[in-house]
């Protein structure tokens, strides 16, 4: 039968038993599909509805049209939270990707014990957005934390990095940059894809290390850079855990680490204003959507697909 089926498909006819295969396929997909509809699409539709209502979590939602959205225009804390989030995204993502690329290039040159280094550098990515690391961060950058003890050895007077509004956001940027491992591993895989003959040809023509990097590595790596850039920007916009734990849930000191997501949480669960919080969630979705679309549009001018 199987030989017959193969023959059939070779001739472009519907093979026997394809229906069965389809069913099996959907069955295998079922857990994911269920999750998508129950945990993702369902709540999304609900939150879209709630964004047009006044909903305090306990009583039934009341339809108020666009009021939640117009309120955002005059909400100064929301504007501040946008400033904080944009600063975080546009400082930490480029830094993170630059470090990831640099280390990937170095590791790709065949360092001894490369597997070890790769694992070590990747580790923070696995832990980076966890609560445990955020708590650790609070200790490291606290008034009596590790950083200040190290600075003390060099005679530099430390400070409460996390409790000073001018440096608190910086500690979160450092935390995000520190999780450069996952883009680094993707860069490493990308570097492996670049044919060595290009480098050989370039060397024969007398191109130096920098020239080879900027003329071969970078252009051929642009699809990977693009991939990492898009993902990391989205990821950074959605950051929540780090700021929540490091600031003890307050977004403080003085709202200096009040990410958009954190303010959303504060409105929804602190102030029982779930309608407004839902509207904010959709606003964030639009922001991320716009940035991603812009990224894809711009990619036409700098991303090079080699095929």
């Amino acid at each position: 039968m199987s030989a017959l089926g193969e023959l059939g498909s070779l001739r472009g006819k519907k093979p026997v038993g394809q229906k069965k295969d389809n069913l099996a396929g959907y069955l295998f997909l079922a857990p994911w599909l269920l999750g998508l509809f129950l945990i993702t699409i369902g709540p999304m539709v609900a939150s879209l509805y709630l964004s047009f209502t006044d909903y305090n979590l306990i009583q039934a939602p009341k339809w108020i049209g666009l009021e939640n959205f117009t309120r955002m225009l005059s909400d100064e804390r929301l504007h501040n939270s946008l400033r904080v989030t944009f600063t975080y995204v546009f400082v930490s993502v480029p830094l993170q990707l630059a470090i990831a690329l640099l280390l990937a290039v170095v590791l790709d040159r065949g360092v001894r014990g490369m597997a070890f280094y790769r694992s070590v550098f990747y580790l923070p990515s696995l832990l980076g957005s966890s609560v445990a690391i955020a708590i650790l961060w609070r200790q490291v950058f606290g008034t009596t934390g590790l950083l200040n003890q190290v600075l003390d050895v060099f005679g530099i007077e430390g400070k409460g990095w996390i409790s000073d509004p001018s440096t608190a956001l910086g500690t979160l940027v450092v935390l995000n940059v520190w999780t450069f491992g996952s883009p680094m591993v993707i860069f490493l895989a990308g570097l492996r894809q670049i044919p060595t003959m290009y480098y050989e040809a370039a060397s024969v023509d007398g191109a130096g290390v920098l020239r080879r990097f900027f003329s071969i590595t970078l252009p051929l790596l642009t699809p990977i850079i693009f991939f990492n850039l898009v993902l990391q920007i989205i990821h950074a916009f959605q950051s929540f855990t780090q700021a929540f734990v490091v600031s003890g849930g307050s977004g403080g000191p003085s709202d200096s680490t009040m990410f958009f997501t954190l303010y959303l949480y504060d409105r929804g669960f602190g102030n029982f204003d779930m309608g407004y919080a839902s509207a904010m969630a959709w606003f964030l979705l639009v922001i991320i959507g716009v940035f991603t679309a812009a990224n894809f549009f711009a990619s036409k001018y700098w991303v090079f697909y080699d095929d």
């Binding site: 998508l36 409790s163 929540f240 403080g252 095929d307």
Partner: protein, 436 residues
């Protein structure tokens, strides 16, 4: 040829879609089993905030109750104050509220006005006959009783006598001290210990200090009809006084204070011996005594002209017992609350850790058994009775946010990012904006 495939672009797009979908639907988890019963067996969920001390004492009471009521199992859920309210809001929203809730004045109306709490007047089996008059009032509104007073406390200055001794500074007379005396004493301690111990914790890390400040000046944080009752001028004075403390080095650095705002009681600056004085609620003396291992002392809040009777103090319901309106076992939950409030055996364990018992019989029963720190709390409450001002109106719906808001503006002022006048105005605007 090993080329980078065009398919990568599709992969990028797919990855984007998935992450975007996750963006607007974060947190769909509503975990946690709700109360259940089978064959006459009832499981109640009981939630409270507080220190280790409180958790141990409360668990003892639960164990004793379960021994007498073999059909009832009580599951304690406890945490620190700062995370408690987020968690409670989440469970209430998920229709998964605990049966018995330790409630604070700040959030009582927030929950009760929205029908989340049971009217205890209509609940079967709760006896409030032995309660001291006036102690029920704070949990009562719109003709119902939504929170049962779990203990009486008062805002106070806590003193670590050991720190005063190290500094060689005498503990001042709290019946006559003024805010100037307070600042001077605190600054002196910082100076004389060479900064090892700082004079006092800051005012303005919660709203109670501002309320007393307002009351001393003929105003109050909230009015009886649920509005903001403190003027921009008095709030400005309040922030100016905090700056005065800062400039005299009477309080720790701005960074240390902002860090302390999120610290748990056991890890706070006063509990770890870095401060000689601090502002606390009188019932917290028990937990702070345990944490510091010292014999601590409570002093009255200073006043503008050295008259203790004019320092604006009042008896506050330190916390309340509430029952979820959606509890499936309201009868059993009410019986347990009745046990917490009226049973001398329960009182004998809990003592004054949640404040002085409002049930006069329990109080009489318990007083001789009090440990030194509980006795000190009870005595303080007794001593200030003659100097009390009017009761302080409960915060209106939306007023629960005021603690976070004043913390933020105190930080702004301490770091010099906002002048007292600007901070006072912005603070009041924001509090007004939160009221519903």
């Amino acid at each position: 040829m090993r080329h980078i495939p065009r398919g990568l672009r599709a992969l990028t797009a797919a990855a984007v879609t998935v992450t975007l979908l996750a963006a607007s639907a974060c947190g769909g988890d509503s975990g946690g089993a709700s109360s259940s019963s089978d064959g006459g067996k009832v499981t109640l969920r009981f939630t409270w905030w507080g220190s280790d001390t409180r958790t141990k004492l409360t668990q003892q009471v639960i164990d004793a109750y379960q021994k007498d009521h073999p059909n009832v199992t009580i599951k304690g859920e406890f945490g620190e104050w700062s995370g408690y309210w987020d968690k409670l809001a989440t469970t209430v929203a998920a229709n998964d509220a605990p049966d018995i809730i330790q409630m604070d004045e700040k959030y009582l109306r927030e929950y009760a006005d929205r029908g989340a709490l049971l009217d205890l007047k209509k609940a079967d089996g709760l006896d409030t006959g032995k309660f001291e008059p006036d102690t029920l009032g704070a949990g009562e509104f719109d003709g119902g009783l939504y929170g049962l007073n779990a203990g009486i406390n008062s805002f106070a200055v806590v003193v670590n006598p050991a720190a005063f001794k190290t500094a060689g500074v005498p503990i001042p007379d709290d019946k006559t001290w003024t805010w100037d005396d307070f600042a001077k004493t605190a600054a002196e301690i910082t100076t004389k210990t060479g900064g090892k111990v700082t004079g006092t914790g800051a005012l303005g890390t919660n709203e109670a200090g501002l309320n007393l400040w307002a009351r001393q000046n003929g105003e109050s944080l909230w009015t009886k009809d649920g509005k903001v009752g403190v003027s921009p001028e008095k709030t400005t004075d309040f922030f100016k006084y905090i700056l005065k403390l800062r400039d005299a080095k009477a309080i720790p650095s701005a960074e240390a204070i902002s860090q302390d705002m999120n610290a748990s009681l056991d890890q706070s600056a006063f509990a770890t011996g870095k401060l000689a004085m601090s502002f606390i609620w009188s019932n917290q003396l028990v937990a702070f005594s345990k944490a510091t291992g010292q014999q601590l002392k409570l002093l009255r809040i200073p006043s503008p002209d050295g008259q203790a009777a004019k320092n604006g103090s009042y008896y506050k319901g330190s916390m309340f017992w509430s029952i979820s309106a959606r509890s499936k076992h309201q009868k059993e939950a009410t019986e347990f609350v009745n046990y917490l409030a009226n049973n001398p055996a329960a009182g004998g364990v809990l003592l004054a850790e949640r404040g002085v018992p409002p049930n006069t019989e329990v109080r009489a029963e318990v007083t001789p058994k009090l440990k030194p720190e509980d006795a000190a709390t009870a005595k303080f409450i007794q001593d200030i009775k003659q100097d009390l001002g009017d009761p302080s109106p409960a915060p209106p719906v939306g007023g629960g946010q005021v603690e976070k808001i004043i913390q933020r503006y105190t930080t702004e002022v301490l770091f010099g990012r906002q002048a007292p006048e600007a901070a006072a105005k912005a603070f009041l605007d924001e509090v007004n904006g939160e009221l519903k």
